[in-house]
């Protein structure tokens, strides 16, 4: 079973995002990046499926010049192979990314392609269905359960209200993973560093048209229309104030 995982980095939301002077992009100079959360679930599922069914897990990342650590972390977690795709100044839009991944996948064996169901920055849609359609493969997003059975997979797609559809999908296919059966496994930093020094990352060159067909007119910090009245002080003082508010409003007895 050839399992391929598409991974990428996204801005770290633990740090404040700022809009640059143009008003149409984030201020990227000091931005720090982390692995996209849902891609980590996709990798964990791929590793679990390989451990059940045998085969190989290959991780693909678009080469933005700074994905060695991302791919080394995939290897440290147990991926068998890491491949850098193309050459990009920065992470491109989802449509461009999908064309690049599709071009790479045409040269790599793949029975099942997994990626995160979404990313916090996929303005022009999710990469999974875009890649699948480029390759003419079936795709299922918001997947919470995967079981392999011969040349097909049984998957669950999640809807609102906890409803779940069970599908049987012919392979090869592309799945957008919402969550993994277990929390993504931990890779010790020392192991990641060691792999970064020693492992040879493979490289696949691709030539694809760039662009999503969208033009960004403006970025803004959303107006919420309601800003919380903030309660300051110690946890005890916060508890005092919340208790008082609930009494004032008659939610709890005075």
């Amino acid at each position: 079973m050839e399992l391929v995982v598409l991974v990428k980095q996204v801005p770290d939301l633990a740090e404040e995002l700022e809009i640059d002077a143009s008003g149409t992009d984030l201020a990227r100079e000091w931005m720090s990046f982390v692995a996209s959360e849902w891609d980590e679930y996709a990798l964990e599922e791929a590793l679990q499926l390989r451990d059940e069914a045998g085969g190989r897990v290959t991780c693909l990342a678009l080469d933005t010049g700074s994905v060695d650590e991302l791919l080394a972390t995939c290897l440290a977690r147990g991926a068998d192979r890491a491949v850098k795709v193309g050459a990009f100044e920065r992470g491109p839009d989802s449509h461009t990314a999908a064309r690049a991944f599709a071009a790479a996948l045409r040269t790599l064996p793949h029975d099942l392609v997994l990626t995160g169901v979404q990313a916090i920055d996929d303005l022009d849609g999710q990469v999974g269905p875009l890649v699948a359609t480029e390759l003419g493969l079936p795709h299922v997003s918001v997947v919470t359960h995967i079981k392999l059975a011969g040349s097909a997979a049984t998957v669950h797609q999640e809807y609102a209200g906890g409803l779940v559809a069970e599908f049987e999908v012919d392979l090869p296919a592309v799945l957008g993973v919402q969550t993994s059966r277990e929390a993504p496994r931990y890779a010790p930093v020392s192991r990641v560093r060691q792999i970064m020094k020693t492992a040879e990352m493979e490289q696949v060159d691709v030539a694809v048209a760039a662009g999503s067909g969208l033009t960004i007119e403006a970025m803004s910090v959303p107006e919420t229309g309601r800003a919380a009245e903030m309660i300051a002080g110690s946890p005890g003082a916060v508890a005092d104030r919340i208790a008082a508010i609930l009494r004032e409003r008659g939610i709890v007895k005075a």
């Binding site: 449509h95 022009d124 480029e134 906890g162 067909g213 970025m219 803004s220 946890p235 919340i242």
Partner: protein, 320 residues
């Protein structure tokens, strides 16, 4: 090519989903600005029967076939892509739901129409659509325009009022056979959540916990607080994913929509998927260690503090 605004209608068990009304209401306003029509696009085995629930649409296109009895991403894409490519609506609005994400991105790649995802607003400016998209877990809005003037948008639940899309009447129906079939994905069954002991949609007080709860053992702190308040414990997605609470307690896009008198959001950052399930609560009090957490944008009261300290203190203040 047309100036029409298409709405992809989701439905289940013979009933049109709330999202369809939210989108149709907006589509009508947009169509008035483009001198086009608001068109409801429905796929299913008996799609035309839903027309009587779609009075807000100028007309209904029903893509009907026995093979469309149950949703699959492959069947929908095969049936709809040629239709969208041929009709060239000015805009296709799709709910940003479990199925809508697959359909919208698949149609974008298949037709070459651009896609704007996570839309919270759609307008017409200079005769073509502009779409405001919510990115970075709700921290940044991005307003975009389609380069060719036409495109697809996936719209988050609750972006527009459903009332504007609810109207009596049964619009004209155009029945269409699917242009192509794709059986590479086969529907097997629908799994409904097991009814739990607690129905969080009926509780008037919810103590809702998120990632900030840290570990399973701490859930008890929330249970005690809920007992002191006479409410129930609910959660955001990570807590349900970890198995610390049953899925029936999950609030948000893939969980339930709640509207309690009091929603205590504890250690919940407030991703858009969560906010769409609870933003209509009468009183929202949020406690989180991150002062920039989007939950403070919808809360009435907020505190930057550790919930593991606030919960027992509040329980004690309430005599629990």
């Amino acid at each position: 090519m047309s100036n029409d605004i298409f709405v992809l209608v989701e439905h289940r068990d013979g009933a049109v989903a709330e999202s369809a009304y939210e989108l149709l209401g907006r589509a009508r306003e947009l169509a008035a600005a483009t001198s086009g029509a608001a068109v409801a696009l429905v796929a299913g085995a008996a799609a035309s029967l839903l027309a009587s629930q779609l009075g807000a649409a100028s007309r209904v296109i029903a893509v009907e076939d026995a093979s469309l009895a149950e949703f699959t991403p492959a069947a929908w894409q095969a049936a709809l892509a040629p239709l969208i490519a041929e009709r060239q609506p000015l805009l296709l609005l799709v709910p940003n739901s479990g199925s809508g994400m697959d359909v919208a991105a698949g149609l974008s790649a298949a037709t070459g129409l651009p896609l704007a995802a996570y839309a919270v607003d759609v307008a017409i400016a200079g005769g073509s659509p502009t779409v405001t998209c919510q990115l970075y877990a709700g921290k940044i809005n991005v307003r975009v325009r389609f380069d060719g003037g036409r495109g697809i948008a996936t719209v988050v639940a609750g972006a527009f009022p459903a009332a504007a899309g609810q109207a009596a009447g049964s619009p004209a129906v155009e029945r269409v056979a699917p242009a192509a079939a794709d059986a590479r994905i086969r529907f097997r069954r629908l799994i409904r959540p097991e009814a739990g002991g607690v129905d969080i949609t009926k509780e008037s007080i919810l103590v809702s916990i998120g990632r900030g709860i840290g570990e399973a053992d701490n859930v008890e702190l929330a249970e005690r607080l809920a007992a002191a308040l006479g409410g129930a414990v609910s959660s955001s997605r990570p807590v349900a994913d970890a198995g610390w609470l049953p899925r029936t307690r999950q609030v948000g896009k893939s969980g339930l929509r709640v509207k309690p008198k009091l929603y205590l959001a504890l250690g919940i950052s407030g991703a858009p998927e969560h906010l769409e399930g609870m933003r209509d609560a009468e009183l929202i009090v949020a406690v989180n260690t991150d002062a920039h957490a989007p939950i403070f944008g919808v809360a009435h009261y907020g505190a930057v503090a550790d919930i593991l300290e606030v919960m027992p203190a509040l329980t004690q203040r309430l005599g629990g």
